[in-house]
C-alpha cells in the first residue's frame, strides 16, 4: 500500500489547506494578513492551492508600519498583482496621526507595538470576522499554546485561560458580534519545514532572504541594517557585511545574519547547522522580557 503514503510536507500542506477552506466555509468576511515575509508568502501559496481556479474568498491585508524593507514591499505589490488578488494596505503612520499616538523613541524606535492599533482599526473598518496569519507554534512559547482558531474579543485580546478546546480536525469558528478569530494554518510547521516546502514548491521570495552586501550597525552582537529609521551615534560601528535575513519584520527590529547563502539549498544547510532560533537570532523585540510575546498577544497582537 506504499503508493498511498504521504510525505510529511504533503500532510502539513493538506492540513493547512483544510484550515484555509474552513475559514472560507465558516466566515463571511475573512482576510489574509500579508507581510511580505516567507511565512505569509507560504500562506498565499497554500491559498492558491486551496481555492484556484476560483478567486480567494478574502483580500490580502498588509499593516504597513512604514519601517518595512523596500524589497519586501516591492515583492508584496508584485505578488498581489501577479496572482490578481485584492491587496489592502493600511499604514501605521496614518493611525498615529489620526489617533494622536506617541511615536516610540530611542535608538531602534519600533512601531511594532503600534501596529496593533492599525490592525484593530482595519478589522473594524472592514468588519473582518477572521484574519489568517502566518504564525507558527515553534516560534515562541506563548504561541505553542495558541489554538489554530484563536478567538479574540473586541479589543483583539487573547485570553489564554479562555481558549476553546480544539479537537480532531474540527474548528469552531462561531463568534459573537465584535469578536473575531485569528487563524493560523501553519501552526504545526517549523522554520525548517517552511524552508523545505519553499524549496520543493519553488516559491519565490524577496531578495533580502538571500545573501547580499549591506551596510549594518553592529549592536550587542546583532547586525541591524542602517536606515533612516534608526539613529546612529558617532561611536556606533557601522560596517558592510554579507548578510541575509531569516525573518522579515521592521527594519528597526529585525537583525540580519552573516551568510553567504545565495540559494535555498544553502539556506537550509545553514539553518540545519545553526544553533540559534529564528526569533532569538533576528528579533530584537522579543528580548525585552521572558513573556514579551505573551503580553503583546494579550493586547491584540498576532
Amino acid at each position: 500500500m506504499s503508493q498511498y503514503r504521504l510525505d510529511y510536507l504533503d500532510q502539513l500542506e493538506s492540513e493547512s489547506i483544510h484550515i484555509m477552506r474552513e475559514v472560507a466555509g465558516q466566515f463571511e468576511r475573512p482576510a489574509l494578513l500579508f507581510s511580505g515575509g516567507k511565512d505569509s508568502i507560504t500562506l498565499v501559496h497554500l491559498a492558491l492551492k486551496a481555492f484556484r481556479p476560483g478567486k480567494f474568498p478574502f483580500p490580502l491585508v498588509h499593516i504597513d508600519t512604514g519601517h518595512n524593507f523596500p524589497e519586501a514591499l516591492a515583492f508584496r505589490d508584485m505578488l498581489a498583482e501577479q496572482i490578481g488578488e485584492k491587496l489592502i494596505v493600511r499604514k501605521v503612520a496614518d493611525t498615529i496621526k489620526a489617533k494622536g499616538l506617541t511615536e516610540p523613541k530611542g535608538k531602534f524606535a519600533s512601531r511594532n507595538a503600534l501596529q496593533t492599533f492599525t490592525l484593530l482599526d482595519t478589522i473594524e473598518e472592514f468588519e473582518f470576522d477572521a484574519c489568517i496569519g502566518g504564525a507558527r507554534r515553534d516560534e515562541e512559547k506563548a504561541r505553542a499554546k495558541e489554538r489554530i482558531f484563536s478567538v479574540r474579543d473586541e479589543f483583539g485580546q487573547w485570553d489564554p485561560k479562555r481558549q476553546r478546546p480544539e479537537l480532531w480536525n474540527i474548528y469552531n469558528g462561531k463568534i459573537s458580534k465584535g469578536e473575531n478569530v485569528r487563524v493560523f494554518p501553519i501552526s504545526n510547521w517549523t522554520e525548517l519545514d517552511i524552508w523545505n516546502y519553499i524549496r520543493r514548491e519553488k516559491i519565490a521570495l524577496p531578495s533580502i532572504y538571500f545573501s547580499h552586501e549591506r551596510e549594518v550597525l553592529e549592536y550587542e552582537g546583532q547586525l541591524v541594517a542602517t536606515s533612516e529609521f534608526i539613529q546612529l551615534e558617532p561611536t556606533d560601528s557601522v560596517v558592510t557585511k554579507t548578510v541575509r535575513y531569516r525573518t522579515v519584520g521592521d527594519m528597526t527590529c529585525t537583525a540580519a545574519v552573516e551568510s553567504v547563502a545565495t540559494n535555498i539549498d544553502d539556506i537550509i544547510r545553514e539553518i540545519t547547522a545553526t544553533k540559534t532560533s529564528e526569533r532569538g537570532e533576528t528579533r530584537i523585540d522579543d528580548k525585552v522580557s521572558e513573556a514579551a510575546m505573551e503580553d503583546r498577544k494579550k493586547n491584540g497582537y498576532f
Binding site: 510529511y8 481556479p53 480532531w168
Partner: protein
C-alpha cells in the same frame, strides 16, 4: 519522511516535562538562545544541571504556579520522522486537556514513576486513551535511577499495567524502562538496564507504524467549500473542495451525497491544480461530479457501495468541557467536521468513572471533566460512523449557542 503526532501523559512530577525536554535536547532541537534562557532560570537549582523541564513551561501563570495548565505543542524531527508532541497536563481537573491532546494523536506515552507503579492517574490516562481510540500506547517507566534500575520493579509494573490494558482493550502496548533525568534509554540504549531487550524510546517512536492507522477502506469526503469561479471561460466550473478524511476516490467512482442520498459519478479529481486519476486520505482535493446536484458545505460525498450511518439520534460518549454543567434537555450546536446542526441532549444514561470505568446510572448532570453516555437528537439527519470504526467521522463537538464556546467532545457509538 513522515509524521507522528503523540501525546504525553503522567501524574504531576512523574517527569513528563523532563522527558519532553530530554527528547528535544538530545535530538538537538533546542537552540542556543532557548538553552541560555533556561540556564538562567535553572540557576537556583543546586546541582548545576540544567532543568530540562523548563523548556516546556509556557505561559506566565504556569511558570508562576510551576505547573502546566494548557496543552502545548512541541516539534522535533529526526531524519526519518517529524514529531508533533501534544504536551497535556496530568492533573485530575485537566481530563479536558488530555482529551483534546489525545484527539489528534496517533500514540500516547504514559509515564509511570517506578517508585509508585501503576496509580489511579495511570489508570485514568489509560482509560482516556482507550476511549479516544489511540492506536499505540508506550508505557515509559521513569525514574529507574531511583530504584537502582531494578528489573524486578520494572517487571512488576509491566505485569500490573498489562492486566489493566487487557481489561481496557488497549491493543498495542510497548513498555520501556527510562530515566528522563539521566537520559537512559531515551535516544540510545543505556548500559544501566542490560536486561532490557527492547529499543530506546526514540527508536520506538521512529519505527511505530502509523500509516496503517489511516483508514483507506471507507471513503469519506465532507464538503468544506464550493468553488465556482463564474468567469467566462470557467462558466460551468463547479468543484467541491474538501479533505479526504478516509479512503480512496477514483475518477468514475459511483458516489452518494449525504444526507440527501442523491447519487452521481466522479468525473474529475483535482489535486493542487492538476487532474489526477485518484486521491487518498488525508489529501485535500477538489471533486467534480457528473450531475448538477445541489451540494453545499456540510454534505458528505461517499462511495455508493460503502455508506456511513445517517440518523437523527446519536448515542455518544461525551466528555464535558465547560464550567457550566450539562443537564438533559439543553440545546447546543453539534459540529461534525463541516456539518453544524442544532441538537438537544435528550438523556444522560450513565456517567463513567474515569478511574475505574464503573458506570453510575442516570446522573442528574455532567460537570467539567465528566464523561457520560448520552443520547443526542439533532435537528436534521447527519452522516457519521461509529468512532470506534472511523475516528475521523465519529468525533463531534458541542458548541454553546450563546457563548459559542466548545463545551463537549462526543464520540459517537
Amino acid at each position: 519522511m513522515d509524521l507522528l503526532r503523540f501525546i504525553t501523559a503522567g501524574s504531576v512530577d512523574d517527569g513528563k516535562s523532563t522527558l519532553i525536554g530530554r527528547l528535544l535536547y538530545d535530538s538537538k532541537s533546542i537552540l542556543i538562545d532557548q538553552l541560555e534562557a533556561i540556564e538562567k532560570q535553572s540557576k537556583n537549582k543546586e546541582d548545576g544541571e540544567i532543568d530540562l523541564a523548563l523548556l516546556t513551561d509556557g505561559l506566565r501563570a504556569e511558570r508562576e504556579q510551576g505547573i502546566t495548565i494548557d496543552v502545548a505543542y512541541k516539534y522535533f524531527s529526526t531524519p526519518s520522522r517529524k514529531f508533533i508532541i501534544a504536551d497535556a497536563p496530568g492533573h485530575i481537573q485537566y481530563t479536558r486537556n488530555m482529551v483534546t491532546g489525545a484527539s489528534n494523536s496517533d500514540l500516547i506515552i504514559i509515564l509511570v514513576d517506578a517508585r509508585s507503579g501503576v496509580v489511579e492517574q495511570t489508570r485514568r490516562h489509560s482509560i482516556i486513551a482507550s476511549l479516544l481510540g489511540l492506536p499505540h500506547v508506550v508505557v515509559a517507566i521513569n525514574k529507574m535511577d531511583l530504584v537502582e534500575y531494578s528489573q524486578d520493579v520494572y517487571n512488576n509494573i509491566v505485569i500490573d499495567y498489562a492486566n489493566m490494558a487487557k481489561s481496557l482493550g488497549l491493543k498495542e502496548v510497548t513498555y520501556i524502562p527510562i530515566s528522563a533525568l539521566k537520559g537512559d534509554n531515551i535516544v540510545e540504549k543505556a548500559a544501566t538496564t542490560p536486561w532490557y531487550e527492547g529499543e530506546a524510546l526514540l527508536s520506538i517512536l521512529e519505527k511505530v507504524q502509523v500509516q496503517q492507522d489511516i483508514d483507506l477502506e471507507h471513503a469519506r469526503f465532507p464538503v468544506q467549500y464550493v468553488i465556482r469561479p463564474q468567469t467566462e471561460e470557467l462558466h460551468d466550473y463547479r468543484g467541491y473542495a474538501g479533505k479526504l478524511h478516509s479512503g480512496i476516490y477514483k475518477k468514475g467512482d459511483a458516489v452518494t451525497v449525504l444526507p440527501s442520498g442523491v447519487t452521481s459519478t466522479i468525473t474529475a479529481i483535482e489535486l493542487n491544480g492538476k487532474e489526477v486519476e485518484e486521491a487518498f486520505a488525508p489529501q485535500s482535493v477538489i471533486l467534480h461530479l457528473a450531475d448538477d446536484v445541489d451540494i453545499s458545505r456540510g454534505d458528505v460525498i461517499v462511495k455508493s457501495n460503502d455508506q456511513p450511518n445517517v440518523a437523527q439520534e446519536l448515542e455518544v460518549l461525551l466528555c464535558w468541557m465547560d464550567t457550566k454543567p450539562l443537564a438533559a434537555g439543553k440545546k447546543y450546536l453539534l459540529q461534525l467536521n463541516s456539518t453544524v446542526v442544532k441538537s438537544v441532549v435528550k438523556e444522560l444514561q450513565y456517567k463513567v468513572d474515569v478511574n475505574t470505568l464503573e458506570q453510575h446510572a442516570s446522573p442528574e448532570q455532567a460537570v467539567l471533566n465528566d464523561i457520560v453516555k448520552a443520547t443526542i437528537k439533532v435537528a436534521r439527519p447527519v452522516a457519521f460512523d461509529a468512532y470506534k470504526k472511523l475516528r475521523t467521522s465519529g468525533g463531534a463537538i458541542l458548541i454553546d449557542e450563546t457563548s459559542h464556546v466548545t463545551v463537549g467532545a462526543c464520540m459517537i457509538q
